[in-house]
């Protein structure tokens, strides 16, 4: 029982990263019809930025947790204005290719400056211990990640459902042709929403820095798993992306714990789940049916 709870908790923690990244992808896709391949690169930049800030300027974790998302959000907005913006009227495949190219560039920029080896990042001292839950105890930092990620998801949900900009984003996601016809200026929100999605990726990166190996390639492999996650959840559905993120984290952790004789399982289980979902509900668990093709 204790073991099960521990595995479940660890699954939720890694699910938190999937959820934050999938959430960013989903709001960006909803608003711009852009599947941002560079999302993983921005996650990597968040972690790397935190590492560089600490090692070269002595900026602590808590400051990095604010600085990096803000900075990357601004960088994302600049990129949206500079390049992505020009392709949003075309087939989404073009922006997928564009952001793929950006990923290669960002990765190699970091690689050529810092090499490919992983850099350690110390857990902030306030969170270095563990939290006692009676039957078992968890590392305090992981408890913090989970709580923080849930908080962020709830805050985003609140913004999406209770504020005007949230309404615009949801309307644009669900009825992209109809929303501007009501006289809503969707274009005004495109750049900020893109920046916001990037900021979420950067935030996930900073959170990952003390827990995972910080290296230039950390985002690339992750983003492909997140793609599978959003296919499972249904990319058009913001809630679905978050739910699938936590769900996949759980499934992976359980697979790793109870099928440990087959190390391949924990790496591939997400793709197996994706295959099953494609068979059963091609539009994703929470997605709406595509027009038949």
């Amino acid at each position: 029982m204790t073991g099960f709870l521990q595995n479940t908790f660890n699954g939720l923690v890694s699910g938190a990263f999937y959820a934050l990244l999938a959430l960013g992808l989903a709001v960006i896709f909803g608003m711009l019809r852009v599947v941002n391949f560079a999302h993983g690169a921005f996650y990597m930049l968040g972690a790397f930025g935190a590492y560089v800030l600490l090692s070269e300027a002595g900026v602590p974790f808590w400051a990095a947790l604010v600085i990096m998302p803000l900075g990357l959000g601004l960088l994302g907005m600049a990129l949206e204005r500079a390049v992505i913006h020009w392709l949003t009227r075309l087939d989404p495949l073009y922006n997928f290719l564009l952001t793929f190219g950006l990923t290669l560039i960002l990765q190699d920029l970091v690689k050529s400056r810092y090499g490919v080896q992983s850099s350690p990042y110390a857990t902030p001292s306030a969170l270095s211990g563990s939290v006692d839950f009676g039957l078992f105890d968890f590392p305090a930092y992981r408890v913090f990640i989970l709580g923080f990620a849930v908080l962020v998801c709830v805050a985003v949900w609140w913004v999406l459902t209770r504020t005007r900009v949230g309404m615009v984003v949801r309307a644009a996601t669900e009825r992209p042709e109809l929303t501007p016809a009501f006289g809503i200026n969707v274009g005004r929100w495109v750049t900020p929403v893109f920046g916001f999605g990037i900021a979420l990726a950067g935030l996930a990166g900073v959170l990952a820095a003390p827990m995972r190996a910080v290296n230039p390639l950390m985002g690339a492999d992750l983003i492909i798993v997140v793609f599978a996650v959003v296919v499972i959840g249904g990319l058009g559905s913001i809630f679905g992306s978050v739910a699938a993120g936590f769900g996949i984290g759980l499934v992976q952790a359980w697979g790793e714990a109870y099928l440990s004789d087959f190390p391949i399982v924990s790496q591939t289980i997400v793709f197996v789940v994706m295959a099953v979902v494609l068979l059963w509900r091609p539009a994703g668990l929470f997605g709406r049916e595509e027009a038949p093709a």
Partner: protein, 338 residues
């Protein structure tokens, strides 16, 4: 949101318009002249370049044509074709090492294995279209990568398969120069097969599906089955390329399955011109030559260059080289006829 995905003609893919239509319209003498020039260039290639680079160009030409068969003529962007290229490379390597068969047989085995792998992946992937298709194929290719990475008893994991032989009835093919001419017929057969597919009634249906899937379905064509068939054929041709690549390098590493390999294949096609088989070949030659030149001149951050090419091509040059050339040529012909 689905309308942009399902009707590419609305979404502005200029290059699509050029390939097939232009090929059908170009005067016969131009087509024969092009074929002659292409064959002459293929025969000359290892005399003008390092033969090893020329071999790579042939392999990548097959790979790119396979991707273009889907992207240009079926309207499906596979971002996971490294799965077929790489799976064939591994199977070819294993067959050549353990069975000691002549390399064309090993390559054929590899390509068949790739086609076999393309059946389940394609079956699942064609359930989605557009950007989702790209994400699904990318994800499945990553799964194949993880499996190859973990299955060390067979794939040797990170060490890769070493010492893939170039056996062919006792001929000495260790020199890349002669090896090039040994594989050229296989590559030309693969390219001819792609050309034949595109210009067959089957290929016309694929283009119809690309341009208007709903209409194709209304006309009674089983759209999913056509897409799956195209996917498997494409997997086979990519597998031919991957198998030859394995024999050419006498070595198979995990790189052949990496997502960057899939992405590179797509950009080769876009650079050459989507929906133009010639363009795919030309793009392969350019990208392989460029990467060889970069690594030869000691430039390490190749990703900066390939990424930069990606960004520039997608932003400024979406018709690609061949697509642009076709547009110019058509304009010139139209002026002459007036």
């Amino acid at each position: 949101m689905t309308s942009t995905v399902d009707t590419p003609e609305k979404a502005g893919r200029p290059a699509h318009r050029s390939g097939l239509v232009a090929a059908a319209r170009a005067p016969r003498w131009i087509r024969y002249a092009l074929l002659a020039v292409g064959l002459a260039a293929a025969l000359w290639l290892p005399n003008g370049l390092y033969p090893a680079v020329a071999v790579d160009i042939l392999c990548w030409a097959l790979f790119a044509v396979a991707v273009d068969l889907l992207l240009g003529f079926t309207g499906l962007m596979s971002f996971g074709h490294a799965a077929f290229w790489g799976a064939s490379a591994y199977v070819t390597g294993l067959v050549a090492i353990h069975a000691g068969l002549p390399f064309p047989v090993a390559v054929l085995a590899g390509a068949l294995a790739a086609a076999l792998l393309a059946v389940p992946i394609g079956y699942l992937a064609v359930k989605r279209t557009g950007i989702y298709f790209a994400m699904v194929t990318l994800a499945f290719a990553q799964m194949v990568y993880y499996v190859a990475n973990e299955w060390r008893s067979v794939t040797q994991g990170e060490n890769g398969l070493q010492g893939v032989p170039r056996a062919l009835f006792g001929l000495d093919l260790t020199d890349d120069y002669y090896f090039y001419y040994a594989i050229l017929p296989i590559v030309l057969l693969g390219l001819a097969a792609a050309w034949r597919i595109v210009h067959s009634p089957f290929g016309r249906v694929l283009v119809g599906i690309r341009d208007n899937p709903a209409r194709a379905r209304a006309l009674g064509y089983p759209v999913h089955r056509y897409k799956l068939t195209a996917f498997v054929l494409s997997g086979f041709i990519a597998g031919l390329g991957g198998g030859l690549f394995a024999v050419g390098h006498r070595f198979v590493s995990l790189d052949v399955l990496h997502w960057t390999t899939s992405g590179k294949a797509v950009i080769v096609v876009v650079l050459g011109g989507i929906g133009t088989l010639w363009g795919a070949v030309l793009g392969a030659a350019l990208v392989v030559r460029l990467e060889d030149w970069l690594s030869f001149s000691g430039f390490e951050a190749i990703g900066l260059v390939t990424g930069g090419i990606f960004v520039l091509v997608v932003l400024l040059f979406r018709r690609g080289i061949w697509g642009s050339a076709v547009v110019l040529a058509r304009r010139w012909l139209a002026r002459r006829h007036r």
